[in-house]
């Protein structure tokens, strides 16, 4: 009782001491009850302004405004419980000021703000540029594992109840133990296979559920300057991304996607994390779930102006790449089978199909890898079964590497590494001659061009 009172008091105090203020060149937040904190975020450093409609706010018609900074994650700003028009007004102000850095015209801001409201409404009323139906989301759930979203939510829920997760694990262990002590091998095998099938089915179901919760009502809007996404079943997200800030477009296709002719299109922005995290909650990227393959050009061309990627000529990587890994793995297989032969535990002939599948996967991996360079863009092709593409404008590159081992030098082969602001892209075993040309050209594109990469 006292505890809940304290929590309530803390919440009220936090609310009471939370203040935000729009300045000429930025937004200022003051928060904290005992430890005061003041945060200044300049407009020109703002990366995204997202509006979230959490399900618990929806009956009240309130939203949360989230402002991402190009700097660090510490500078992220969350303003909770705004009304929707308030949040929209803030977003418009930020977007407007951001595109006009400090024009020393304090008086005319009101007038300008009015103009933008009209503009923004123009965007709003426009038809969604791209939408996803319920079926698409089911497909997305099946082809991409989104189960962890649900699992995470369940774990979070379980932790807040007296029934702890470890209790469940204990229960399960006791159950499994009693079965295994039953001795009958056939029975155990049967049980395990049923368990396996069940796991797969449950995971798939959870994944579909996760996909629907995250991407329900997916709508992609466009304006000349930016992209906007609306999505989410319980909590509605409105994510806004300035087109000029898209660093790379990543087309990801898993093996099931290949069969169903689907592709995930991901618009990526500046990212400080080591791996550009897959999480759908990551607001630094916009993921278009399971787009149809033939629509990918439309989605790419919204940001980058290049011809259909399938029509481009890709420079293949050297066959030595395949040979190298085939040799390494085959040796490992031989060693393993020799070991098994000696131990006489296992029919090593069973390893042959496994080896064959592995080799063909390695071969496919070699086949997929390629590099295409057009006038303005670099396109990297990768993948094992599905085909992934990474597209970025050459002038947005941050740095480039050329790497070569002594063996590769003898064969005139090189690895190329592109550092973009959103991810690092490595492509192995290209002809050195080609790599040098590409690097020289990329450096030219960066250095002879005054366009801002942001």
């Amino acid at each position: 009782m006292t505890l809940s009172c304290l929590i309530l008091l803390a919440a009220i105090l936090r609310y009471w001491f939370y203040r935000y203020q729009m300045l000429d060149d930025g937004i200022q937040i003051r928060l904290g009850v005992l430890f005061k904190k003041q945060l200044n975020l300049k407009f020109h450093r703002v990366q995204n302004v997202n509006i979230r409609h959490p399900f618990y706010f929806r009956p009240l018609g309130l939203v949360t405004l989230k402002i991402d900074s190009a700097g660090s994650t510490r500078e992220e700003v969350n303003i909770a419980a705004l009304t929707f028009p308030e949040a929209q007004a803030i977003r418009q102000t930020i977007q407007h000021r951001k595109s006009q850095p400090l024009l020393a015209e304090g008086e005319s801001t009101d007038l300008d703000a009015g103009a933008i409201v009209v503009n923004a409404e123009g965007v709003k009323e426009e038809q969604a540029f791209y939408t996803r139906t319920f079926d698409d989301l089911v497909i997305h759930g099946l082809t991409n594992n989104r189960a962890w979203i649900i699992v995470g939510a369940i774990f979070g829920f379980l932790q807040s109840t007296p029934f702890s997760v470890s209790d469940g694990v204990d229960l399960l262990q006791g159950f499994v133990g009693s079965i295994i002590s039953n001795e009958s091998v056939a029975f155990t095998v049967l049980l395990f296979s049923i368990a396996l099938v069940l796991t797969v089915v449950i995971t798939a179901l959870l994944s579909v559920l996760g996909s629907i919760v995250t991407y329900y009502g997916f709508e992609l809007f466009r304006s000349d300057e930016s992209l906007m996404v609306h999505r989410g079943l319980f909590t509605r997200h409105e994510i806004n991304m300035q087109k000029s800030r898209v660093q790379t477009i990543y087309l990801r296709q898993d093996w099931l996607d290949l069969i169903l002719q689907r592709v995930n299109v991901i618009y990526e922005q500046l990212s400080h994390s080591l791996h550009n995290v897959e999480g759908a909650e990551n607001s630094k990227r916009i993921l278009v779930p399971s787009a149809r393959e033939w629509e990918r050009s439309r989605l790419i061309n919204e940001i980058f102006d290049l011809p259909d990627i399938a029509s481009l000529e890709f420079q293949a990587i050297s066959k030595w790449y395949f040979y190298k890994y085939a040799l390494i793995w085959s040796t490992l297989y031989l060693l393993f089978s020799a070991g098994f032969e000696v131990a006489e535990t296992f029919n090593t002939l069973l390893l042959i199909p496994v080896w064959a599948v592995h080799m063909s996967l390695l071969y496919m991996n070699w086949l997929r890898a390629g590099l295409a360079v057009t006038e303005d863009y670099v396109i990297v092709r990768k993948g094992i079964i599905g085909i992934d593409y990474i597209v970025f404008p050459a002038y947005k590159l941050q740095a480039v590497d050329h790497v070569q081992s002594l063996l590769m030098k003898r064969r005139q082969l090189s690895n190329i590494v592109f550092h973009t602001a959103s991810r690092m892209i490595r492509l192995p075993y290209l002809p050195s001659q080609h790599v040098h040309k590409v690097l020289n050209y990329c450096l030219y594109a960066v250095e002879a061009n005054d366009r801002s990469w942001m």
């Binding site: 000529e313 360079v373 740095a399 050329h402 790497v403 070569q404 550092h419 450096l443 960066v446």
Partner: protein
């Protein structure tokens, strides 16, 4: 209207490999080998001492480890290992070269895996000159360039001559500050790229730099310049093979 649209000949583009790479000052090699030897010596003494004490713990008359016959073999192994390590450090240090061009800085390194990293100055977010206590004694410094994106992609030139490092830092700052022309002029004046040890850096601040100062001058995304088409927009054949 002053507009040209000439074709870029890929093979005529400046080649990042065809520049005069500059080696690091020899005292950096001496420093590295010195550090290796002293760390190794300390470790050897510590391990040898520990073993000596351990072996004499059973109350037998005190006998240093070196006096035991089998320790000669260990000593030999230790020396061979040290020489191999020293050889590797020697090769790795000798392999580091750098070059400063008008628009970028290149670092070459690696013994078994050769690597060239090119950092265009346009994409540098901020510059740091760092210096450890030993570096100070040897008048050496490291230049670190930060670009956007993952923190892995920091670009570092180790073991530069102190004045040279300051010169490079100033060169990068000038490049960021003003027009490229100025930066290029400065380059030819200060001869950063010529590799002379006494590269003059007129307003060298003696290496004392406050982080706040740095942070202010180079905020991320400061370059919100109106994006206009470059005057030398060019049609370019993709480098096809």
């Amino acid at each position: 209207m002053d507009f040209s649209n000439s074709q870029v000949v890929i093979d005529a583009l400046p080649n990042y490999r065809r520049v005069d790479f500059i080696p690091l000052p020899p005292r950096f090699l001496r420093l590295r080998l010195g550090v290796l030897f002293s760390v190794y010596a300390v470790l050897a003494l510590a391990i040898g001492g520990a073993f000596t004490i351990a072996l004499n713990f059973d109350g037998s008359p005190f006998q240093a480890l070196l006096l035991r016959p089998q320790s000669v073999l260990f000593l030999l192994l230790a020396v061979v290992l040290m020489l191999l390590l020293a050889l590797f450090v020697y090769a790795a240090t000798k392999a580091i070269h750098f070059a400063v061009r008008d628009h970028d800085i290149i670092v070459k390194s690696g013994v078994f895996w050769k690597q060239e990293v090119v950092q265009p100055l346009k994409r540098v977010q901020h510059v740091e000159v760092t210096r450890g206590p030993l570096d100070k004694r040897f008048r050496l410094a490291n230049v670190v360039l930060f670009s956007a994106g993952t923190n892995l992609s920091t670009f570092r030139i180790p073991g530069l001559d102190q004045d040279n490092a300051e010169g490079i830092r100033q060169f990068v700052l000038d490049y960021q500050m003003g027009s490229q022309d100025q930066a290029i002029q400065r380059d030819s004046n200060t001869e950063v790229s010529s590799g002379t040890r006494e590269a003059a850096s007129p307003d060298s601040r003696g290496g004392k730099e406050s982080p706040a100062d740095r942070g202010d001058s180079m905020a991320i995304g400061g370059g919100q310049s109106a994006a206009t088409a470059p005057s030398d927009a060019a049609t370019i054949e993709p480098p096809s093979e």
